[in-house]
C-alpha cells in the first residue's frame, strides 16, 4: 500500500521532470509583459509640442486619499487667464496606486506608467518634483497627445505654451 502510493507520487514527479513546463519567470532576467492599463508609477505628461498638460487645477490633490500630491498653481506670466502648476510634488512613499488622481485630472495630464522597479535605499528619493515626474512621463509615453486647442474649441484656452517654459531636452531625472 505504502509503496504503491510512493510510486504514484513519484510518477507525477517524473512526468513533470520529463514534460518540463515552467510557470515561473526568472525575474530580473526575464520580465513580465504588463498590460497597457497597468497601474504603476505616476507621471506627468506633455503635449506633442512639448508643453506641459497640467493646468494646476488641484483636482488630483483634492481627490488623493493619502495626500500624496502637492500642487502650487500660478498664472502663466503675462497671460492672466492661463494657469499652470508652478510646483508639483509627489511623495510616492504614501501612494496607494489607486488611480483616482488620474481619473480626476480633467486634461489627462497624469498617467500611470508600467514602471514598477522603484525600490530605493533612501526613502527621500521617492519624493519627486515636477521635473522628475515629467521625465518619467517622457520615457514612458513617447506618443503624445495633440494639444487641446486643436481638439476642441471650448478647451483651447487651457494650457498654451508660454515664454520661458523649460523644454524637454533640458530635463533629466536627478
Amino acid at each position: 500500500m505504502t509503496f504503491y502510493e510512493l510510486a504514484m507520487g513519484m510518477k507525477v514527479t517524473l512526468r513533470h521532470l520529463l514534460h518540463y513546463r515552467p510557470i515561473t519567470l526568472q525575474y530580473p532576467h526575464e520580465k513580465r509583459l504588463l498590460p497597457e492599463n497597468y497601474r504603476g508609477m505616476l507621471a506627468l505628461l506633455r503635449y506633442d509640442d512639448g508643453t506641459e498638460k497640467c493646468v494646476g487645477c488641484d483636482l488630483c490633490e483634492a481627490v488623493c486619499p493619502s495626500r500624496v500630491i502637492r500642487v502650487i498653481s500660478a498664472e502663466v506670466p503675462n497671460e492672466p487667464i492661463k494657469r499652470y502648476a508652478k510646483e508639483y510634488d509627489m511623495d510616492m512613499t504614501r501612494c496607494l496606486f489607486c488611480g483616482l488622481c488620474v481619473q480626476a485630472c480633467p486634461v489627462d495630464a497624469l498617467g500611470m506608467t508600467r514602471e514598477y522597479e522603484w525600490a530605493v535605499y533612501n526613502k527621500r528619493n521617492l519624493h519627486l518634483n515636477k521635473e522628475q515626474l515629467l521625465a518619467i512621463g517622457d520615457r514612458s509615453f513617447p506618443n503624445r497627445e495633440k494639444r487641446l486647442e486643436f481638439q476642441h474649441p471650448n478647451v483651447a484656452f487651457f494650457n498654451l505654451p508660454f515664454p520661458g517654459q523649460p523644454l524637454k531636452e533640458s530635463q533629466t531625472l536627478t
Binding site: 510557470i23 504588463l34 498590460p35 492599463n37 497597468y38 497601474r39 488641484d58 483636482l59 483634492a62 481627490v63 488623493c64 486619499p65 496607494l96 496606486f97 489607486c98 488611480g99 483616482l100 481619473q103 480626476a104 480633467p106 486634461v107 489627462d108 500611470m112 487641446l148 476642441h152 471650448n154 478647451v155 487651457f158
Partner: protein
C-alpha cells in the same frame, strides 16, 4: 408595522422608546432604554417569534453634543426568520456603562471588547474586559471618540515606547515581566493540581509563518495539550474606521482593498453596495453581471489561496504550487481588467470601472474549461490523503448551535451544517438569476470546511459560466450626475459635466441623512459595512463588520483540548486575514 417591532413594543412598552422601519432600505430599528437592555436582549434571543440567534455586530457612535453622548448599536440576525434588526442604546459620558450580553451571545465577547477599546464603554458583567486592538497599556484615550484626533496624539518620535538615542539607557532588571503581570493571561480556569506540577505558557506569533499576518496567541499548555488559547489582536490595526471619518466616500474605496488584501474585489463590492444602499442608486444590468462575475472570480482566488496555504501549513507543499498556478491565471485577468493584481480598486458607485473585453471573456472561458480538471487534481492530492485526513478530520470541531452563538459566518458556519449564505438569503447582484447551490458540511470540522470551499469553487465556476452566457450589452455604470462622475470625454466639452466632475472630485457627493447596514458574502464570511451619514460628504461613522475578527472570538472555544500542532490548522480553518481582522 413589522410584527417584530410590534411585539417588542407590546412586550416592553416603556423600555422600547421608539421603533422605526425604514421603507426604502427595509431595515428595522428600535431605540432601547439603557436600564432594560439586558431584558430586551434576553427576550430577543429566547422568544421563538423573535429568535435573533445570530449576533452580527456591535458598533458605537459618539455624538459629543448630545446629553446621552454615546450610542451603542447592535445588529442581530434571526436565522430561522431571516430578519435583521438594529437596536440602539444610549449612555451618558459620566457613566458609560451598559449590561454585557456575552452570556447570551458568546460572539459578543470580542465585539464588546472592541467597543470598550475604541469608545470607552464599559460592559458590566463582561468576563474579560480588556483592550483588544490597541495595546493593553494604551492610556491616551479612546480613538473613535470624536475629540480624539485622527492623526493620533503625538507623532511616532514622541511616543515613549519607541526608544530614542538621546535618552538614558534603561537599567536591566532581573526579570523583564513583573511577577504581578505574569498571570494576566492565565485568568480563569485554575489548573488541576493532581495531574501536573507546572503549566506552560507559550507565545505563538506575532511573527509566525502560518499565522498569515501578525497574530499572537498566548497558549496555556498542559503538556502538549492546549487548555486555553487567548488571541492577542491588533498588531495590524491601522484605524481604517477612524480614517474613513476624514475621507469622502470615494476616497474610502481604495482603503477597503487593504482590509482583506487577498480578496480586494469582494471588499470593494461590499463597500460599494453599502454606499449604494445609502444613496439609492440602481445599477445597470451589465454592470451587475460584471460585478457578479468578478466577485465569483475573487471567491475562487480566495479559496485557492486558502487551500494552498492551509495545505502548506499542514505540510503538503505541492498543493500550494498547484493552486497558486491557477490563482495566477485569474490575477492576470484582473490585471488586464483594472491594471492591478491585488489592490484592485475596480468597483465604482453605480457600476464598475472598466468593461470586460472580449479578450478577457475568452481567457475566462478557457480557464473555466480546464478548471474543473484542476479541482479534480487537488482532490487527488488531498481528498483521500491519509495525512490530510488525520490532520483535518475532527480538528477544530464546532457544533451548529455554538457556531451560530459565536456569530460565525461563511464556510466556517456552513461547515457545521447551518445554511446561511447571504447570496441566497438576501440575493444581490445576479445571484438569483443563476442556478447554484450552497454546500453544507455535517461534522463541523476542518475537513468539512475544506470540502465546502472546494465545492464552492465549483459553484462559483458554475455561476460565472451562466453569467457569461446571459450577460447583456449595455452601460457599465449608472448615470447620476450628483454621485457618479460623468464620462471623461464629456468633461472638457460640456460645462455641466465639468462642474459635476469638479464637485464630485473636490467635495464628494452628499448622501441623504440616514444609516444603513449592508452585508455581503465574501469568501471568508459576512463582510458588513454600517454607515451613518449626517448629510455631509464624509461618513459620520463607518463600522466594518469583518468576519475574521468575529471568527477569532471563537478561537479559544475551538482550540481547547487540541495539540499544539493542531493550532496551525485551527488558525487556518477560518481563512483568517489579519488586515481585515485588525482593520
Amino acid at each position: 408595522m413589522h410584527p417584530v417591532l410590534e411585539t417588542l413594543q407590546q412586550q416592553f412598552p416603556i423600555i422600547i422608546q421608539s421603533v422605526n422601519e425604514d421603507p426604502q432600505r427595509h431595515e428595522l430599528s428600535a431605540q432601547v432604554e439603557r436600564g432594560g437592555w439586558g431584558d430586551v436582549a434576553q427576550f430577543l434571543h429566547d422568544d421563538p417569534a423573535m429568535a435573533f440567534d445570530h449576533m452580527t455586530d456591535i458598533c458605537s457612535v459618539d455624538y459629543p453634543d448630545d446629553f446621552e453622548r454615546f450610542e451603542i448599536i447592535y445588529h442581530f440576525l434571526s436565522l430561522p426568520h431571516g430578519t435583521r434588526i438594529r437596536l440602539k442604546v444610549r449612555v451618558t459620558e459620566d457613566d458609560p456603562s451598559l449590561a454585557s450580553i456575552c452570556h447570551i451571545w458568546a460572539g459578543a465577547n470580542f465585539l464588546e471588547r472592541e467597543v470598550f477599546d475604541l469608545m470607552g464603554i464599559r460592559f458590566t458583567g463582561h468576563p474579560d474586559l480588556r483592550r483588544i486592538l490597541m495595546p493593553e497599556d494604551y492610556d491616551e484615550g479612546y480613538p473613535l471618540r470624536k475629540d480624539f484626533p485622527a492623526e493620533g496624539k503625538g507623532w511616532r518620535s514622541q511616543m515613549d515606547f519607541i526608544p530614542r538615542l538621546d535618552e538614558p539607557v534603561s537599567e536591566w532588571s532581573a526579570d523583564e515581566i513583573p511577577s504581578d503581570q505574569r498571570h494576566q493571561f492565565m485568568a480563569g480556569d485554575s489548573p488541576d493540581e493532581s495531574k501536573r506540577t507546572t503549566e506552560m505558557l507559550l507565545n505563538m506569533g506575532p511573527q509566525h509563518p502560518s499565522t498569515h499576518g501578525v497574530l499572537r496567541v498566548v497558549l496555556e499548555l498542559d503538556g502538549e495539550r492546549v487548555t486555553k488559547a487567548v488571541p492577542d489582536l491588533g498588531y495590524l490595526h491601522r484605524g481604517v474606521e477612524k480614517l474613513a471619518e476624514g475621507l469622502n466616500y470615494m476616497q474610502i474605496l481604495p482603503h477597503t482593498d487593504r482590509l482583506d488584501y487577498v480578496c480586494a474585489m469582494t471588499n470593494n463590492y461590499a463597500y460599494v453596495r453599502a454606499v449604494e444602499k445609502l444613496v439609492g442608486i440602481t445599477i445597470p444590468e451589465r454592470a451587475e453581471y460584471v460585478r457578479t462575475i468578478v466577485a465569483e472570480m475573487q471567491r475562487i482566488v480566495g479559496h485557492l489561496f486558502w487551500l494552498g496555504t492551509q495545505a502548506l501549513d499542514i505540510g503538503a507543499m505541492t498543493v500550494f504550487f498547484f493552486t497558486f498556478r491557477e490563482r495566477e491565471v485569474l490575477l492576470d485577468m484582473f490585471e488586464k481588467l483594472c491594471g492591478a493584481r491585488l489592490t484592485l480598486n475596480y468597483f465604482r458607485f453605480g457600476g464598475v470601472d472598466s468593461d470586460l473585453t472580449p479578450e478577457i471573456i475568452a481567457s475566462l472561458k478557457e480557464f473555466l474549461n480546464t478548471f474543473s480538471a484542476h479541482i479534480e487534481e487537488y482532490d487527488t492530492l488531498l481528498k483521500e490523503n491519509r495525512i490530510w485526513l488525520a490532520r483535518t478530520k475532527g480538528v477544530a470541531v464546532i457544533s451548529g448551535e455554538d457556531a451560530i452563538n459565536f456569530g460565525l459566518t461563511g464556510p466556517s458556519l456552513r461547515g457545521s451544517g447551518v445554511a446561511y449564505d447571504i447570496r441566497k438569503l438576501e440575493p444581490y447582484g445576479m445571484y438569483d438569476k443563476v442556478e447554484w447551490e450552497v454546500p453544507l458540511g455535517k461534522a463541523g470540522d476542518t475537513y468539512d470546511r475544506y470540502w465546502i470551499r472546494v465545492e464552492e469553487m465549483r459553484q462559483s465556476a458554475r455561476i460565472i459560466e451562466q453569467c457569461l452566457e446571459q450577460i447583456p450589452e449595455g452601460p457599465i455604470i449608472a448615470e447620476d450626475a450628483k454621485v457618479i462622475p460623468p464620462p471623461k470625454p464629456d468633461v472638457m466639452r460640456d460645462m455641466q459635466s465639468l462642474i459635476h466632475h469638479f464637485i464630485i472630485f473636490t467635495q464628494g457627493f452628499k448622501p441623504p441623512k440616514g444609516e444603513t447596514y449592508c452585508a455581503t458574502e465574501v469568501p471568508k464570511g459576512e463582510l458588513g459595512f454600517f454607515l451613518i451619514s449626517d448629510g455631509s460628504p464624509r461618513p459620520y461613522r463607518m463600522k466594518i463588520r469583518s468576519p475574521s475578527f468575529v471568527h477569532m472570538g471563537a478561537f479559544d472555544h475551538m482550540a481547547r483540548g487540541y495539540l499544539i500542532s493542531d493550532i496551525i490548522t485551527i488558525f487556518g480553518t477560518y481563512d483568517i486575514v489579519m488586515g481585515e481582522c485588525d482593520r
